[in-house]
């Protein structure tokens, strides 16, 4: 009987030791400094293509390495990357005419970290004659 009681005591002691906290300290502060969002996004619809243009954010040309252009599907609230460019213009060609196309653009910095995407801008694409 006494040995069982000592076992119970040992079990409780083991329980105390095993109940240490496993979660580590939180990382302090938000670690990322994203590149700024491109401005003045304009989409112009053409014949089975659309031309997307934008501007560098004011005073922050140095940290931006490239821009990513996304097609935005409004009905599904989904985006698809259609290209990456170092320029401020992008042409999306071979589109199906008589449809509207929406786009978003974001900047990527030198460490390959992507900043906020712009609001979507849409344009109507005509069919080829």
């Amino acid at each position: 009987m006494r040995s069982f009681a000592w076992c119970a005591l040992g079990a409780i002691a083991a329980l105390c030791i095993s109940c240490g906290a496993d979660h580590q300290d939180l990382p302090t502060g938000f670690a990322y400094d994203p590149p700024p969002t491109p401005t003045n996004l304009v989409v112009t619809g053409g014949e089975e293509l659309s031309t997307i243009t934008w501007s560098y954010p004011a005073g922050d040309r140095g940290s931006i390495r490239a821009f990513r252009v996304y097609e935005y599907f409004e009905s599904y609230d989904m985006i698809q990357l259609i290209g990456t460019t170092t320029d401020t213009v992008f042409v999306d060609s071979l589109l199906i005419g008589n449809l509207g196309y929406c786009y978003k653009v974001s900047a990527v910095d030198t460490s390959d970290f992507e900043g906020w995407r712009t609001e979507s801008v849409c344009a109507f694409v005509r069919s080829a004659r």
């Binding site: 009987m1 005591l9 409780i12 105390c16 979660h23 994203p34 970290f113």
Partner: protein, 158 residues
């Protein structure tokens, strides 16, 4: 709170050591299962109270421990996703999620510790109680014989 646990263990150990010299058998039953010694001594109400209290504390401890482990896993996942984020939107989302999971782990850790201290406290109090009040209670049922029959009397002690 963490300082209380070794203190309670030391108290329980010294109490058990002193009882070993005095030879109170029921104390050892209480040391094994809180409330058992009280039940053996005829204090069913008190014994039941210790047993059910210990059961609730240990059940809470086990459930909180399982949930805590899950919360820690989720926190580690959210932290890894946050640290590996390549888009600011994902980083912000994972940062908030990581904080949420960390708070959840903190809460569950506190609950787990409370349940552990409660289990140890009940266990220690049960032993101390048995040492102080280890007297054989009246049997719960007594029969007195009369000329025209007999009387059965039930009693409940706390």
């Amino acid at each position: 709170m963490r300082r209380i646990v070794p203190l309670l263990l030391v108290i329980a150990l010294s109490v058990l050591a002193s009882t070993e010299a005095r030879g109170g058998e029921n104390v050892w039953y209480s040391a094994m299962v809180p409330g058992w010694g009280q039940v053996r001594a005829g204090h069913y109400g008190r014994g039941g109270l210790f047993m059910s209290g210990e059961l609730v504390a240990l059940t809470t401890l086990v459930i909180a421990d399982i949930q805590y482990d899950r919360a820690v896993e989720q926190y580690d996942r959210a932290k890894a996703s946050y640290l590996n984020a390549a888009y600011i939107g994902d980083a912000v989302y994972e940062y908030e999620l990581m904080h949420e999971r960390w708070n959840s782990a903190e809460d569950l850790n506190a609950l787990r510790n409370t349940a552990l201290y409660a289990a140890i406290g009940i266990w220690a109090v049960s032993i101390v109680d048995m040492i102080i009040f280890d007297s054989k209670a009246e049997p719960p049922l007594s029969i007195s014989v009369r000329r025209d029959g007999f009387i059965v009397t039930g009693s409940l002690s706390f």
